[in-house]
């Protein structure tokens, strides 16, 4: 089923020369390809100081004393600042939100005061005229620690004998959520089979190629702070910086230039970034912080560290009767600010079982503190865990009753004509397409042929596996995500569009660009609606002084929310242009259209006046316009979803791989994805979001893990020991689409940024188990390293 557009009002987009649905190159790629971009790490300002954070080598310790007397006299040193001293200009924060009931955390300081709670927490800032000189000075700062017992194992974090990290909180439980929907006990009692498994997810991190970078410039004369930062949410940074530095929002400008990768890593407020803003204010000069790679591993948020016990009940005919999960996750010593570290577990509870019909679902999620680096939202928050647990259980269930993995899904996925409907956890689905996606996937991968090939190769001792994973994805979040919990994180976005004096278009949007194509999709929409060619549309993003107020780019919201705002703003400008044109041409707006940068007759298309000429008249010869005409060649519109809290998307992935049962190595042979993100603005950009997302999921599936020892030391904080996907190991990925636009917007677009990551690991894990079926080995742990596989095979 390829759903035709459910949005008849799409007429402005469905025009001759429309860019919607077309592959067009992103604007401004030349700059990046020629090495002439401007990342924060490239920036320099006069009198700029470089800050190096001296970081704790201990996971948990009392700071007995800091002796920086000698270091202060080292060459190039501008200042050495402790947490106590920085406290004069910045206040601490607590990462909680009111809609996550019971969530608690302790006050966190920009630089630790008295105590450090994870290896890598900053204990002092060394500011010098260069990073190298700051490092020289840092070497002779003497910090005396008294080591405290570190809480590292999430499984024992709640035991009475385990020390409580923040005594004022009473225990190490940050958050707990329980859900009991339908009649779970009865459903399990009625089941013919019940299958259980413990799913283990490695802690991993985003490894953006450009580390986190910030340049803060306090102008004492203007009493204004300019923050250059690679962030996904400039207005959020503005608000938080102002709040904790005792400033008004209007005293803080956040500028976001090119960003070297984000993926959720750069949507948070980090203590060292707060310290950098504060240092600029304290020292009255520009201060630059660029994390090095070791710091990135020790302080960029980690994600996923979950242990999840899962249970599924089913009938012999394959009917799934119930799901039950008990999820445990350790988030480090603080809940992150301001989005909190309870969201991932909360998402797991929301999403498990989401593609399926059963109404019986019970879940418990517990989020505990520990003395490790902080965890928080990273691309596809919670989805890979929920999907791996759900799809792992479904495959185990199929195995139990001897049913094909596709067939069991066919019998249980929500029917494509059953929408709108609500999940047991209360998620509202407007329109999904699980069955259509599955049908398309099977055709793309030639499922039956692949099964035959698999069987044939088994005879020559070659063990290949097919793994399938259906998924749902949260996109286009409304205020339900953060705003209702009291966070000043905007869920609406704004776009201002204006015709310049030469008939080109300038468009300011509150969504941001980190490579997804925000700039392109905005230009495509605006160009299509206005009838202006894309190269004449310039898009400005990432500057709180020069864009409307809005959320930014995260949670797969840029196209769906920012794109709709662009569409609505462009429609208003189009009307305004046609009104002026009608006045100039002594015609009526209804008889005119704009095509190829010129006003034309709506019928016949004969040219009437170039936009360039219209702009000349409006801006320079308004005296020649009829009396009473006041042209408005600029229009602004904002948009936020109101009907649905989230625009859910869906899809299905498949992995085809080979396991070497002697070495435990997995070779990925092919990967397929069919997803449904509604209206597709630029098919190439969507496909590349999917592919990039899949590969991040494949990294989690096979390689990526932050390995801590029992004392809370991160033992692989470098890119040689922490493995990421490289081109040699990655397969080609085929992407297909089903299109079910959301009716909540005229554009009909849902998000596509996280779908790839959501289901990739689940597909791989199921494929590995499928490959290992003759050996009776079942693995429910990622990353699927050779060690894990050989252990399961009993070879080591």
């Amino acid at each position: 089923m390829t759903v035709a557009s459910a949005n008849p009002a799409l007429s402005e987009l469905d025009r001759p020369n429309s860019y919607i649905g077309k592959v067009v190159p992103r604007p401004n790629l030349e700059r990046l390809m020629q090495g002439r971009g401007l990342y924060v790490s490239d920036m320099e300002l006069p009198r700029m100081g470089h800050v190096l954070f001296l970081r704790s080598p201990h996971a948990h310790a009392k700071i007995v004393g800091i002796d920086a007397i000698e270091a202060r006299h080292m060459p190039g040193v501008i200042a050495i600042v402790t947490g106590q001293e920085l406290g004069a200009v910045i206040t601490p924060w607590v990462g909680v939100l009111s809609h996550l009931k019971g969530l608690k955390s302790a006050p966190q300081n920009a630089i630790a005061i008295d105590r450090v709670c994870w290896q890598g927490e900053a204990v002092a800032a060394v500011v010098a005229t260069s990073r190298a000189l700051a490092e020289d000075a840092a070497e002779i700062v003497r910090v005396e620690y008294q080591e405290l017992e570190a809480v590292t194992d999430m499984r024992t974090a709640l035991n009475p004998e385990t020390p409580v990290i923040h005594p004022s909180l009473g225990d190490n439980l940050a958050f707990e959520r329980n859900l009991d929907a339908g009649t779970v006990d009865a459903a399990f009692a009625e089941s013919d089979e019940v299958v259980e498994a413990d799913f283990i997810f490695g802690r991993h991190t985003g490894v953006t190629l450009e580390p986190r970078a910030v340049l803060a410039d306090w102008n004492a004369a203007e009493a204004r702070l300019t923050i250059y930062q690679g962030t996904q949410a400039p207005h959020m940074v503005q608000n938080i910086a102002a709040l904790h530095l005792g400033l008004e929002d209007s005293q803080v400008r956040v500028v976001c230039k090119d960003v070297g990768g984000s993926f959720g890593i750069k949507v948070h407020i980090y203590a060292d970034e707060m310290a950098t803003y504060a240092l600029s204010k304290l020292l009255r000069r520009p201060i630059k912080f660029v994390a090095d790679r070791v710091e990135s591993f020790n302080t960029d948020i980690h994600a996923r560290d979950h242990l999840c016990k899962g249970r599924i009940g089913l009938k012999r005919d394959g009917t799934i009767m119930a799901f039950e999960i008990d999820d445990l996750t350790g988030i480090g010593p603080y809940s992150m600010y301001p989005r909190t570290s309870a969201i991932e577990a909360n998402q797991v509870v929301n999403l498990v079982g989401g593609p399926y019909v059963t109404r019986n679902y019970r879940a418990r999620a517990r989020v505990v503190f520990q003395n490790k680096n902080v965890m928080c939202q990273y691309r596809a928050v919670g989805h890979p865990i929920a999907c791996s647990v759900t799809e792992g259980l479904v495959d185990l269930a199929a195995l139990k009753i001897g049913m094909d993995p596709v067939e069991i899904r066919r019998r249980n996925l929500i029917a494509d004509d059953a929408y709108p409907c609500v999940s047991p956890s209360g998620l509202r689905f407007e329109l999904l397409s699980h069955h259509a996606a599955m049908t398309k996937l099977l055709a793309m991968m030639d499922y039956d042929r692949l099964r035959a090939e698999q069987a044939a190769l088994r005879k020559s001792n070659i063990h290949r596996g097919i793994g399938i994973a259906s998924f749902i994805e949260v996109t286009n979040p409304s205020a339900a995500f953060y705003g209702v919990g009291g966070a000043r994180i905007s869920s609406q976005d704004g776009v201002a569009v204006r015709l310049d004096a030469q008939g080109s278009v300038i468009c300011q949007t509150s969504i941001t660009e980190q490579g997804q194509g925000s700039e392109s999709l905005t230009a495509q929409i605006v160009g299509s609606v206005l009838g202006v060619s894309m190269e004449r549309v310039r898009v400005i993003l990432g500057d709180t002084d020069n864009t409307p107020y809005g959320g930014g780019t995260w949670a797969s919201r840029g196209a769906g929310i920012g794109g709709e705002a662009a569409l609505q703003a462009a429609k208003v400008l189009r009307k305004n242009i046609l009104d002026v044109a009608a006045a100039i041409l002594q015609s009526s707006p209804g008889e005119l259209d704009i095509v190829n940068n010129a006003v034309v007759n709506a019928s016949g298309g004969s040219p009437r006046i170039e936009l360039r000429e219209l702009a000349r008249i409006v801006y320079f010869r308004p005296d020649t316009l009829p009396p009473g005409i006041q042209p408005e060649l600029m229009a602004t519109r904002h948009f936020v979803p109101r009907e649905y809290p989230f625009a859910f998307t869906n899809g299905v992935q498949a992995s085809w791989l080979e396991v070497d049962t002697d070495t435990g190595f997995v070779k990925l042979l092919r990967h397929w994805v069919v997803e449904d993100c509604g209206t597709i603005i630029n098919p190439q950009l969507v496909d590349e979001q999917i592919r990039g997302g899949v590969v991040q999921g494949l990294g989690a599936a096979l390689f990526e893990k932050c390995i801590y020892d029992e004392r809370g030391q991160l033992t692989n904080a470098n890119m040689a020991d922490y493995l990421v996907p490289m081109s040699g190991e990655m397969p080609d990925i085929d992407v297909g689409h089903v299109v079910s636009p959301t009716s909540e917007t005229e554009l009909g677009a849902k998000g596509a940024g996280e779908a790839g990551t959501a289901g990739a690991a689940a597909a791989v894990a199921n494929a590995v188990n499928d490959a290992l079926r003759p050996f009776g080995a079942i693995i429910t742990e990622i990353p699927l390293t050779p060690q894990v596989i050989l252990t399961a095979l009993g070879r080591i």
């Binding site: 190159p25 992103r26 790629l29 030349e30 700059r31 990046l32 390809m33 020629q34 090495g35 002439r36 971009g37 401007l38 990342y39 790490s41 490239d42 060459p75 260069s130 190298a132 020289d136 985003g206 490894v207 953006t208 190629l209 450009e210 580390p211 090119d258 960003v259 070297g260 990768g261 984000s262 993926f263 090095d292 790679r293 980190q514 490579g515 997804q516 194509g517 190439q684 950009l685 590349e688 592919r691 990039g692 997302g693 899949v694 590969v695 991040q696 470098n718 890119m719 040689a720 990421v724 996907p725 490289m726 081109s727 040699g728 190991e729 990655m730 080609d732 990925i733 790839g756």
Partner: protein
């Protein structure tokens, strides 16, 4: 600290004379002294490939070379390769295929890809993947990059024949 050492080298066809500390690596020299910020620093331990440049025709990780080693050498960065037009077709293929997202790996990726295409005019996808396997890209998943390099190789062969 040791005293600065004088070096003379050729960078993108221009003679450069400088005094550098012995500990200064080539990546920092290019970025901080010459302001050639197209050479990116991703890991500073020779794994990610973002700082790839050409020295006397060979690709190197500029974070693993010292500036003092460059005395008498010829260094080419992405800015130089862009201005000479040497990689213009490769850049066009990257643009058409959307083989970059955030762009941070792209200068190093382009230089590594050009190195392959100079050695092997007709690489298959596996060879492309292997040659680029020292250059980390977190955004694309690599397929678009492989496609762009493959199509550039084909176009170059077509132009020659």
């Amino acid at each position: 600290m040791t005293a600065p050492v004088p070096i003379s080298l050729d960078v993108n066809g221009e003679r450069v004379d400088a005094h550098v500390l012995p500990r200064l690596n080539l990546a920092d020299f290019l970025r901080e002294h010459l302001k050639l910020t197209g050479t990116h620093v991703g890991c500073e331990h020779g794994v990610c490939g973002a700082c790839t440049v050409r020295v006397d025709g060979e690709i190197v990780r500029s974070c693993l070379m010292l500036a003092v080693q460059m005395h008498g050498a010829s260094v080419e960065t992405i800015e130089g390769l862009s201005d000479s037009g040497e990689v213009a077709d490769l850049q066009a293929a990257f643009r058409d295929r959307n083989a970059l997202q955030c762009g941070f790996c792209t200068p190093g990726m382009l230089i590594a890809a050009q190195d392959l295409l100079k050695q092997n005019t007709e690489p298959d996808r596996e060879q492309i993947r292997q040659h680029l396997s020292g250059n980390y890209c977190r955004c694309t998943g690599y397929q678009a990059i492989v496609d762009a390099v493959e199509s550039t190789a084909r176009a170059r062969i077509g132009r020659r024949s």
